[in-house]
Amino acid sequence: MEFVGSASTQSCITQKRGRRVYGDDRDFKSKNLTAERRRREKLSNRLLTLRSLVPIITNMNKATIVEDAITYIEKLQMTVKVLSDQLLEMESSSEESERPRNDEINAAEEMKKHGIEEKVEVTNVDGCKLWIRIISKKKRSRITKFLEAMASHGFELSDTNVTTFKGATLISSCLNGVYSYKIEAEQVKELLQEIIKSI
């Protein structure tokens, strides 16, 4: 039961408890009173904030604040929908520009400029854990393909980090084999190099 207003709190608590027991009851009531008051103030403050956000307000009571907020939210949702449909429409009718090639050309040049070379490093860390480190030219959706390749070979990557710098991508990760047998670092390295070349 919601009771608004401190005046009614006393009576409400009495009703809640069902019987009138004094002494002990009084302390209980007063503790609850503070908490209840705080709770009400919290709700009241939030309602005020809500009201401040909504531009169209009619009356100033709890019920209408909530009601106006509902109306406003629905209106905004409609606007979002309309705009995003519009965007989608424009998207479908517009032309795609050819960007990726430019990117790639730039990437290669950048790498050369800064002396970064493509590299694959594999190190044995712990039992069947390997640590791999790959530097490669940045290409569109290369990372995705790499990850897919990893998954298809049954390698599980944990603690992966990818970063990009001057047209080069650095992938460092910890690799666990699917199968429990030990995998040779060299083998993996060759495998990875092949993969990188292919994607």
Binding site: M1, E2, R39, K42, L43, R46, L47, T49, L50, L53, V54, K62, A63, V66, E67, A69, I70, Y72, I73, E74, L76, Q77, T79, V80, L83, S84, Q86, L87, M90, E91, S94, E95, E96, S97, R99, R140, S141, I143, T144, L147, E148, M150, A151, E156, L157, S158, D159, T160, N161, V162, T163, T164
Partner: protein, 474 residues
């Protein structure tokens, strides 16, 4: 004088019946009023006619709001205005008074035709006739007419259907009619303000006799009901069921609600659009309705957290802010797209070198001087996504609970959305996977924060559904 006017039946029974003691008439008979004289003065004055008309309409609009109980005060008003000189507004008091009397009786201009029989002054008659007819042809007439419905029911329980036609037809013009078509709507006892006890059952009957779809304008109901329906409140409870069904209930409900403070049980059925007041029979209903609203608010918000009122409101606040951001973002995007398109068109028509087309046109930037920024958070059962966009950089934070190869899927999604992944950081923390993705939007793509977040959640949830719920050890 007031009582005089009220009781002309002795003198002019026929006229009274049909016209509800229209004042200029009675006053003309009665003699010494300046009013009738001024009426005669004005009959030739067309400009005055229109001015009077205007003022009459104003006054009528005002009068319609009053209850009939206040008609007496109007009468006293007219009293005071009566006396003097040749002023245009003097013509109003008779109209006012006539309004109040019409209040108790006449409405249809059919009655006006009855004048002809009683009034020798044809020109005056026609002046008054056209005046009133034009003014009453307004929408104010229906309320008046409706007002008259109620007294009607004391005299006869069933309304003849054709009388209701005059109410619902706002275009009803009042021609000079044959007297035979006159419907007498006047209840001679009405003005006495009899207590409404006999009314309620008849009122109900009245409702039932009205064809479905008929609706009372609010003002009229308001005027009449205070006196009529004060007693009905209790009865409404019993007949609550009646109002539940059909259009009649709804229509009547609206109007009934607006005028009566005592009809608490009606409060249950509230009209959502623009209803000024709600009335509840019990505190309980009020609480229930308030709770219903909070629930509705909660249902609107995408990520409801706790179920208590304060957090519902808090979520709503955040959601409104988010929606505002999204709207701004979308507007910006649409604008950008439009500019790009126009630029392309321009270039094509100018026959430029396609290959040299710069992608970031300096002219273009002048259109979009504002920095695009938006922020969005979405949660699902096992996934939390936080998307922040500043200009063309998107930062995505992802937290996932179960163990799937999220990197792969996310990477795929990002490719679909044309986001260039620059940096990924994160890993396995306790039960969760947490990642931070820094991406750049490829030129020409118009994704917005909402779409990214939604897509990610969608994919993640799909994957979760695909993975059987086994233990995380792999």
């Amino acid at each position: 004088m007031q009582t005089d006017r009220r009781q002309p039946p002795d003198n002019h029974p026929k006229m009274y019946e049909e016209t509800g003691c229209f004042d200029p008439n009675s006053m003309a008979e009665g003699g010494d009023d300046g009013i009738s004289q001024s009426v005669k003065h004005h009959k030739e004055d067309d400009a005055a006619v229109s001015a009077i008309e205007l003022e009459l309409q104003k006054h009528l609009a005002f009068n319609v709001e009053d209850t009939h109980t206040q008609s007496i005060s109007i009468n006293s008003n007219t009293h005071s205005i009566h006396d003097p000189a040749n002023q245009n507004h003097q013509i109003l008091p008779p109209y006012e008074h006539s309004h109040s009397n019409w209040d108790s009786g006449v409405v249809s201009a059919d009655h006006m035709g009855g004048f002809d029989q009683n009034e020798n002054d044809q020109s005056q008659q026609s002046f008054i006739n056209t005046d009133i007819s034009s003014s009453f042809a307004q929408s104010q007439t229906p309320p008046l007419l409706n007002l008259l419905q109620f007294p009607r029911c004391t005299t006869s329980s069933m309304l003849p259907p054709n009388s209701s036609i005059s109410f619902t037809n706002p275009d009803h013009h009042f021609p000079v009619p044959p007297p035979t078509s006159t419907d007498v709507l006047y209840d001679p006892l009405f003005h006495l303000n009899l207590p409404p006890q006999p009314q309620p059952p008849l009122f109900r009957e009245l409702f039932q006799s009205i064809p479905h779809g008929y609706s009372f304008p609010a003002s009229a109901s308001r005027a009449a009901a205070n006196s009529l329906f004060g007693e009905i409140g209790d009865e409404r409870d019993a007949t609550g069921a009646f109002y539940e069904d059909g259009d009649v209930g709804v229509h009547l409900d609206n109007r009934v609600l607006e005028f009566s403070r005592d009809l608490g049980c009606i409060g249950r059925r509230r009209e959502t659009a623009g209803k000024p007041t709600k009335h509840f029979a019990t505190e309980r209903q009020r609480r229930e309705q308030l709770n219903g609203k909070f629930k509705a608010l909660k249902d609107l918000v995408p990520n409801p957290t706790k179920n208590d009122r304060a957090s519902v409101v808090g979520d709503a606040i955040e959601y409104i802010k988010e929606l505002l951001r999204t709207v701004n973002e979308l507007k910006l995007l649409v604008e950008k797209k439009r500019c790009v398109r126009e630029r392309r068109k321009r270039h094509r028509t100018e026959d430029d070198d396609e290959g040299m087309k710069p992608l970031v046109d300096p002219a273009d930037q002048s259109y979009n001087s504002s920095l695009r920024s938006s922020w969005l958070q979405r949660k699902s059962k096992d996934t939390e996504v936080d998307v922040r966009i500043i200009d063309d950089e998107v930062t995505i934070k992802l937290v996932q609970r179960k163990k799937i190869d999220c990197l792969l899927f996310v990477s795929r999604v990002l490719d679909e959305l044309q986001l260039d992944l620059h940096h990924v950081a994160g890993g396995h923390i306790g039960d969760y996977y947490s990642f931070l993705f820094n991406t750049k939007i490829y030129e020409g793509s118009s994704v917005y924060a909402g779409s990214i977040a939604n897509k990610l959640i969608e994919v993640m949830d799909k994957q979760y559904a695909a993975v059987p719920p086994t233990s995380c050890a792999y």
